[in-house]
Amino acid sequence: MVQDRRVVALFIGSILLLGVIIGGPLVYAIMLSFYSAKSFVGELQWVGLANYAKTIQDPLFWQAFANGLMIALAAIFLQVVLGVGIALVLNRRFFGQSVVRAVSILPYFLPTVVACLIAQWILDPNYGLLKSILASFGIGIADWSAQGVTARGTIVLVSVWLWTPFVITCVLAGLQTIPTQLYEAARVDGAGAWRQFWHITVPGLRSVLVVVILLRGIWMFNKFDLIWLLTKGGPLNQTETLPTLAYRKSFLEFNLGGGAAVATLSFLILAGVMLIYLRLFPIDDAKQGR
């Protein structure tokens, strides 16, 4: 009994601690969005929903939302397609398999800052490695950071390079859980490689993919460091996303209330999308169907 009570106490304690650590800043941010403030130390002034009204009417907010969505969708799509493809290759037995597997997840270990520096090093339109290599063949390249499409594309490419290994690792683990007998049954049933992939591999990876897409979706939509390091939202807000917009408003324009409103709306949008997603694709596949 004593032990039971201790367990309960520990449990409640940890919930409270988590609540304070996670909930505290969240509540504070939401609260800020109802005030007008020029700094964290200055006087707060209650403005009600004015920050939200302004934010919603701001075309930049919607552009940032669209940019974020585009970048996230493209990045997830490529990460998942490449991740599954590479995992399928790595799952076959071949010489040097373990070495290749280890190398393939290396980028995941790089800190984002380092990765972005490397990327800029390679891609820099004036001094980059790519430019000098191409130049030696007499080919010139345009400045990727000068155009919205190429800037967004570069962000997607770097994120694919950085986080596809995460998908590979998860999918490789998922592949191990599919019984080989299912493939044998399918072969006897007459299914070729393509049918085996769609009827056995994909359903078998379903739970893994649902979680991976969920996680990658949240992370990509909330991505700040990568975008800030590569483009700072430029050119002309073409790569501005909700997190960079919130940061810009709060810390560069000293509009704390406006930044908090953007952050809160971003949080609500993401939460809404994720709830719908989980409704459509429950992680526990037993809940699907009947």
């Binding site: 019984p179 299912l182 049954a185 072969r187 006897v188 049933d189 007459g190 070729g192 078998g204 037993a286």
Partner: protein, 372 residues
């Protein structure tokens, strides 16, 4: 439906260099026959079956189905259907789709698929379960779905790898009967793998007994029971196991006898080859008889009442033996029971190698006949 011919089929894993799992396997399976592969764990039953299915490539030898050499064909071109030990149902598909998949993959017409799946569902009593997923089924139901999946395909050959081993004893008997009925109705060629000798005896038109990748004997169930080719088969078929005693052939008056310690038993005339001196004598427990006045006695150490029968374990002339009689309530452990050995029921094997010494059944005859 089709004949199957296995000609000198061998298999070794590890790129053909490892120890061999199946050695020089020769067998002719008639159209519509139900063949049972039995043998202890690891003897190569599954490997042989998987080679017939095309899931493993034979290292050497040839496999013919319906006269067609399929040795190097992939499974889909062999028109075989297989039921796996743990069923291998597609977990995300419904019962209906599990059964329909093989037809769908082969580009069968939708209406035809529906007709065949429904027909199989009726014959296997699965109609009420068609919308369920495998995890919502009991073991027996999954087993029937696995059978149904094979059935709808109308294959040349059914391959069943220990399909009943995950079921409880009662259900096993029931499913065994269902498979026998199904076989009788379809008249299909079937190969059934088991390590249960009762299943083998009751189901098989013929039984193939394997050990360490080698066929020990192939024949009708009662042939194997009556004339086991070697001590391994003698011990494997029949329960409780045949009593085996090592001894020497000696002259006992006019007749030949086997002597082992205090036990001397005359053997029937002109039945066995008698060149070898060291022999193994065998007699099944159920062939021993209680005979008042017999000079031989069993001192009983264990009595097991099975119901219809009484199992005894004890010593006869210094040899540990088992005996089975019609129910005898009065026998207690410690009793001495007079026992006789009916001469015509005796088996004789060579002590070296254990092959039978029975004259009609030449030592290599079984193998040679199949491989000729």
């Amino acid at each position: 439906m089709a004949r199957i011919s296995l000609q000198h089929v061998s298999k070794s894993f590890g790129g053909g260099h490892g120890p061999s799992a199946v050695k020089d396997f020769c067998l002719e399976i008639e159209d519509g026959e139900l063949i049972v592969f039995v043998g202890p764990s690891g003897c190569g039953k599954s490997t042989t079956l998987r080679m017939i299915a095309g899931l493993e490539e034979a290292t050497s030898g040839a496999i013919l189905i319906g006269g067609r050499n399929v040795t190097h064909l992939p499974p889909k071109d062999r028109n075989v259907a297989m039921v796996f030990q743990n069923y291998a149902l597609y977990p995300q598909k419904t019962v209906y789709d599990n059964m329909a998949f093989g037809l769908y993959v082969r580009g069968e017409d939708r209406k035809e698929i529906d007709r065949r799946v429904k027909a199989a569902a009726v014959s296997l009593d699965l109609e009420a379960l068609l919308d369920r997923k495998p995890r919502q089924l009991s073991g027996g139901q999954m087993q029937r779905v696995a059978l149904g999946r094979a059935l709808v395909r109308d294959p040349d050959v059914f391959l069943l790898d220990e399909p009943l081993s995950n079921l409880d004893a009662k259900l096993r008997v029931k499913m065994r009967e269902e498979i026998a009925t199904l076989h009788a109705r379809l008249g299909a060629t079937m190969i059934f793998v088991t390590h249960d000798q009762v299943e083998a005896m009751t189901l098989g038109d013929r039984i193939v007994i394997m050990r360490d990748g080698v066929i020990q004997q192939a024949g009708k169930p009662l042939e194997l029971y009556d004339r086991p080719a070697n001590t391994f088969v003698a011990g494997f078929i029949g329960s409780p196991e045949m009593n085996l005693v090592n001894g020497q052939l000696v002259e006992d008056g006019e007749r030949l006898a086997v002597r082992s310690g205090d036990l001397t038993l005359r053997i029937p005339e002109n039945t066995f080859a008698t060149q070898e001196k060291n022999v193994t004598l065998g007699i099944r427990p159920e062939h021993l008889v209680i005979a008042d006045g017999s000079p031989l006695e069993m001192s009983v150490s264990l009595v097991e009442q099975i119901g219809a029968q009484t199992y005894l374990l004890g010593m006869i002339a210094g040899h540990k033996m088992r005996a089975v009689f019609e129910r005898r309530d009065e026998i207690r452990s410690g009793d001495k029971v007079p026992i006789a050995f009916p001469t015509e029921r005796l088996h004789l094997f060579s002590s070296a190698g254990g092959a039978t010494l029975r004259k009609t059944e030449g030592r290599v005859a079984v193998h040679a006949k199949e491989c000729a």
